[in-house]
Subunit: 149 residues, 3 copies
């Protein structure tokens, strides 16, 4: 069971990799797999400046918002295990529905306008990279081979 490939890809690819990587403690799925939980202090030490070029946690939050993540739990605000953890959710980012990832878009003003007009919006390398990553994560999880040998 190979490692999830890295560190390339755009923001959704990186986030998908992080949340599915058992070696990453700062980002994880909530109990229902409908949203993600982020431990800020841990995230700053573990991820920022490494996988991302920024050291500012707020830049990471800006990316979450750009890709359509909203704060708050999926259903009835299921509590994070630690009160310090931030809860975000996105209709196209679900643990058990990786096929939805293809709908993720960077919500710039121009993309928003295009979508409302019914036009196509590209997502550079979304297809290839996300596909690779989701295959990896699905295969690995189904084989219950995590954590890595």
């Amino acid at each position: 069971c190979a490692r999830i490939p890295g560190p390339g890809g755009n923001f959704p690819a990186k986030l998908w990799r992080l949340v599915n990587d058992p070696h990453t403690d700062s980002v994880r799925w909530d109990q229902q797999g409908e949203g993600i939980l982020i431990d800020r202090a841990l995230f700053e030490a573990e991820v920022l400046g490494d996988l991302f070029k920024t050291n500012n946690f707020t830049s990471f939050i800006r990316q979450l918002n750009l890709y359509g993540f909203r704060k708050g739990g999926g259903r009835q605000d299921d509590e994070p295990d630690s009160p310090a953890e931030l809860h975000f959710q996105n209709p196209y980012f679900k643990r058990d529905k990786p096929e939805l990832l293809a709908h993720l878009r960077r919500m710039t003003r121009s993309n928003r306008a295009k979508l409302q007009a019914g036009l196509e919006v590209s997502c550079r390398r979304c297809g290839v990279l996300l596909h690779r990553h989701l295959i990896y994560s699905l295969v690995c999880r189904s084989q219950a081979c995590w954590p890595y040998p």
Copy 2:
């Protein structure tokens, strides 16, 4: 004679600081002070990943082009001391005419259109930071106090 302040500022501010900083060997003025000479290998080791968030020299070149720098010497391609040095020049980036710095603009498509239409184009924090740096470099050079004590 104080050090040139850093590391803030936009690209022109950083470049002006680098080329005037005697501690930076990878970027320097050509003999006439009309263009800059860049030693790529040295630049990668000395500057990239530190003052800039990128490790790719080509990203730095992209910035040079965005701000209007062109390859080639000012007059008749006065030879770089080392054949490995790249020669770039910009009509508003001259060693002895810091007042021209105020005309530097990021040449995006929209900015290009605005300029052609005779409109104003902003340059965030260009004024303050460039002003700071040019004052420093002028004062320091005039006092011949470089390298720093």
Copy 3:
């Protein structure tokens, strides 16, 4: 020499008190007294949750922006001692010109419109509290009685 009164007042009053309070290490004037330097980690431990109701540093930044503070140094060489310190400045928030405090306004959209139309904009309790605090700080500094006994 009495302590600066607290903890009441609106945001500018609190900030003026903090930056002039020698017991507060996380907020201080830059060398020229034209901008303020903020140590985030220290600020979170020292000030947040106490003087302000929030635990989010970003809320404090939002307040700074609402009242017209901008990131970056004022004019000349005012780099932070520690690169970790954030530098903000405001044309009406200067160490040696407390009379300018009266011009501070909460820059909401409506206030912005009013000011551009040349209308008056109120600032609740700005007058009274700021006046009290600036008197205190001036008196205290002039008597060189800091730090407090």
